[in-house]
């Protein structure tokens, strides 16, 4: 046991309420400042030249006409990275080639050069004057093509790591394996074995706000950055590395974020804007991606192939499981295979398991995280096979899962044992839900109905976070936190501090300062922030209480040991007359030693494991093949819901994204390896008109590693919908669809084949 287990608080005053969110008025009135709103004196614009082909060698780049164009300040290519980054940081070398191609382009939209000019149109015109000559190569569009014996090799100097063996001339960047028990032996003792293969297409997070960056490299070689990001410190550190500066030479200023979902954990524009600023006489440069570029050149979630083989006894117990997952890394290595491998069978206690995971480069944009990266894809496959097992054996779909559910002490396929988790409680909540107990609508005319259920797991993160607190003279408390607020974390952290200090949430005033004004804080992602930054807030509040007690001792001239703090009041244990509220103390602290402030930095392990379940009722129009979700319920163990409305919104939002992934969304590629639906008109994400109200059931099995029980919310809800809908479609039409998206075309194909 190396984790700290806290005594759990059970009675709350602030936690579990829904106060007006601190950023609410600014967001509603439009006052909130986003990256595109940033304006600086002498601001100029940057634009990017992008590859028009999916795969090719760059024979030449002629920038001469662009450089001579009136209004143009600078043109940069990959050579400018090499000039600035003299240390040639090998860890960043591949990322640098993604940000600006070196000698090959590896996907349509791959950035090749960037231009700064007096305005955006001039920059765009200058981009049109840059001539790139290619030697076009055959594109590799998916994992099947990539692993063929004679497949074109994308990255000539890539040395694949195949279970520890170095392999040259390969598109498989990495293979990892988890093995528990003996699968051969396990399958021998199975009464039923089902093995199926599933295909998934690449999908995008679809955040509304496109990537943007404003950079000002000044005469002192100090770089100031504004960028829509999930992690100001990551932008600072990565940009510094790319452009050859030290971290202390870069300051990232916070701006609001219009959606990220994992896609804004990567850096694309800030290094370009930085180099352009430097090369443009230290003028600030602003860059904003257009929507097409967001689709073509930012990081989507990987598609790929997942093969699943599961065995069970007739008594309803798993005997063995094999999962083989191959994810598209995109143009450079680094897809979410490790998470996919960890998550794929984590919901269940399976004694014999083997998981092989392959990271495969293809001619598509380099993938990024997307809510529970890797888990929706594997859940789609595993939960579909489980559904088939239950149908074949005529088992209740929740009872079978309950009979095999992971609990404290269960060993995941990667060998790690769970601590206290709430999967069984989540299954029980699903079983007793109104949705599960309600009858499904009856088929009529050309409308058929189906119900599906599926589960998902994400391990939830920890990591580094910092929170500072300052007691104002009026008794309110300023809170600075280093986490980007992408899901309401300013309020959820403020509420945890308020609970600890015994004051209302409104009296905590949260803000996010620049990276020079708060301690290092990791990227907001992996459902880590309410847990880790929240715990930093709790610790800072505890320190504030200690200091307030000390000051009260000075003020009353009594021993500190005779002072207690409770529910926002400081009082003497010996003299009932001596009692001060925080507000009253704040008014007199000046004479006791000046202002009171506190800070806390943490670096926490993860382990707040989260489980979720989706139940869906769908209606299929057998004439058009269109699927409508008529009812969807998401059930999730969140540990403790700090701000229940936020939690419900996060869960509903994740479910909606998962529904879009399941039914409609895909990178539709043509024979030339080019995405042909790179706009929101053609890339069909669900809107509110497409969906019913998402019903949310919050389960609260406290995480012992947090005094209020927080686990995390944002990742899990996107996992179940893919398989939930696959199972509902199977229930409706009697045939399983083994690939995403399960769109009307595929359904009509199934219906027409009989």
């Amino acid at each position: 046991m190396t984790l700290k287990n806290y005594k759990q608080k059970k009675d709350f005053n602030v936690i579990g309420t829904n106060p007006i969110r601190h950023d609410g008025y600014d967001k509603v009135t439009g006052r909130a400042i986003y990256g595109a709103d940033v304006k600086l004196p002498n601001l100029i614009w940057g634009e990017v030249v992008r590859s028009t082909i999916a795969h090719g060698k760059i024979k030449s780049i002629d920038v001469s006409k662009a450089e001579k164009m009136e209004g143009v300040f600078a043109v940069i290519t990959h050579k400018d990275f090499e000039k600035n980054n003299k240390d040639n940081n090998v860890n960043l070398a591949r990322d640098m080639q993604n940000i600006l191609a070196k000698d090959k382009v590896l996907y349509k939209g791959h950035a090749i050069a960037a231009v700064s000019a007096r305005d955006r149109n001039t920059a765009k015109e200058a981009c049109n004057l840059i001539k790139v000559e290619y030697e076009e190569l055959q594109p590799v569009s998916n994992v099947s093509e990539a692993i063929e014996t004679n497949a074109p090799i994308l990255i000539e100097d890539l040395v694949g790591d195949h279970l520890g063996k170095a392999v040259n001339k390969t598109n498989i960047a990495k293979q990892i394996r988890h093995q528990l028990g003996d699968t051969n032996e396990g399958f021998k003792h199975s009464d039923l074995i089902i093995e199926k293969e599933f295909d998934l297409e690449m999908v995008h997070q679809g955040y509304i706000e496109p990537h943007n960056a404003t950079a000002h490299w000044d005469e002192n070689d100090h770089l100031s950055l504004w960028s829509s990001t999930q992690g100001s410190f990551a932008v600072r550190d990565l940009t510094a590395g790319f452009v050859g500066l030290n971290e202390s030479q870069v300051t990232t200023y916070p701006v609001e974020i219009g959606g990220g979902f994992g896609g804004k954990t990567k850096v694309y524009l800030p290094p370009l804007a930085a180099l352009l600023s430097k090369k443009s006489g230290f003028r600030p440069v602003k860059m904003i991606m257009d929507r097409v570029s967001v689709f073509l050149a930012s990081g989507p979630a990987p598609g790929g192939k997942v093969r699943v083989k599961l065995g069970v006894t007739k008594e309803g117990k798993f005997t063995a499981g094999i999962v083989d997952l191959k994810f598209e890394a995109g143009a450079f290595p680094g897809s979410s295979i490790a998470a996919g491998a960890t998550c794929c069978l984590a919901c269940y206690n399976i004694p014999n398991v083997q998981i092989d995971a392959f990271d495969v480069v293809v001619n598509k944009p380099k993938t990024a995280a997307y809510r529970a990266p890797g888990s929706p894809q594997v859940s789609f496959a595993v939960e579909s096979v489980i559904d088939d097992i239950c149908e074949k054996m005529d088992w209740d779909k929740i009872d079978f899962r309950l009979n095999n559910a992971s609990k404290e002490g269960t060993r995941r396929a990667d060998g790690v044992q769970f601590n206290k988790i709430g999967f069984i409680e989540t299954l029980e909540a699903a079983k007793s839900s109104d949705h599960w107990k309600s009858p499904l609508m009856k088929n009529n005319q050309n409308k058929v109905y189906g119900r599906g259920i599926a589960c998902g797991f994400w391990m939830n993160g920890g990591g580094k976070s910092t929170v500072d607190l300052m007691l104002h003279d009026d008794g309110n408390i300023a809170l600075n936190e280093g986490s980007a607020d992408i899901g309401g974390t300013r309020t959820s952290i403020a509420m945890q501090v308020a609970e600890t200090l015994g004051v209302s949430a409104e009296r905590i005033q949260p803000s996010i300062p620049n990276t020079d004004s708060i301690g290092f804080t990791g990227t907001t992602g992996g459902s880590r922030t309410t847990y880790a930054t929240g715990l930093a807030g709790l610790e800072a509040a505890d320190k504030l209480i200690i200091e307030m007690k000390k000051r009260a001792g000075i003020y009353w001239n009594i021993e500190e040991t005779d002072i207690k703090f409770s529910e926002g009041n400081i009082y003497s244990t010996k003299d009932p007359e001596l009692k001060l509220s925080i507000k009253e103390l704040a008014a007199v602290i000046g004479e006791t030693g000046g202002p009171i402030s506190s800070t806390s930095s943490v670096n926490l392990p993860g382990g707040g494991n989260g489980f979720g379940i989706g139940i869906s009722d769908i209606q299929i129009d057998t004439l058009t093949g269109k699927t409508d979700v008529v009812r969807y319920t998401a059930i999730q163990d969140v540990g403790k819901a700090i701000y229940p409305q936020y939690v419900e919104s996060q869960i509903a939002g994740g479910a909606v994204q998962g529904i879009g992934w399941a039914l409609n969304e895909e990178y539709y590629m043509n024979d030339m390896g080019i995405m042909t639906n790179s706009s929101f008109l053609d890339y069909r994400m669900p809107t509110s008109l497409d969906l019913p109200n998402i019903e949310v059931i919050i389960v609260e099995v406290p995480n012992p590693q947090h005094p209020y029980g927080v686990r995390g919310v944002g990742e899990v809800p996107i996992i179940p919908p893919l398989a939930t809908l696959a199972n509902a479609i199977k229930d409706a039409i009697g045939t399983r669809i083994y690939s995403t998206p399960m769109n009307p075309g595929k359904i009509l194909e199934v219906l027409s084949s009989g």
Partner: protein
């Protein structure tokens, strides 16, 4: 004794044992003792005095953030796994 579970690709070095029992009060001590038992193994786990980039050390139920300084209680399980990042 800590119970050390190695990634699949390193199990060959340890004669395909499911886990190895190793003495040590910190992760550093455990890895050094492991290297004494299986010379060269440390190079697969540690780089420039830190847990190798791309690897994660799970001590007990969750990934340690203390690196080689992580204190270990008796019978703690240590798993070396590919590092995971989230969305």
């Amino acid at each position: 004794m800590a119970k050390v579970f190695l990634p699949f690709q390193l199990k060959e070095i340890t004669e395909n044992k499911d886990f190895i029992e190793v003495k040590g009060k910190t992760l550093r001590e455990v890895i050094n003792n492991l290297d004494n038992m299986y010379p060269g193994l440390k190079d697969h786990l540690v780089e420039e005095g830190k847990i190798k980039s791309g690897l994660s050390a799970i001590c007990g139920f969750a990934a340690t953030r203390k690196g080689l300084l992580q204190e270990l209680e008796e019978d703690t399980e240590v798993h070396f796994l590919p590092a995971i990042s989230g969305g």
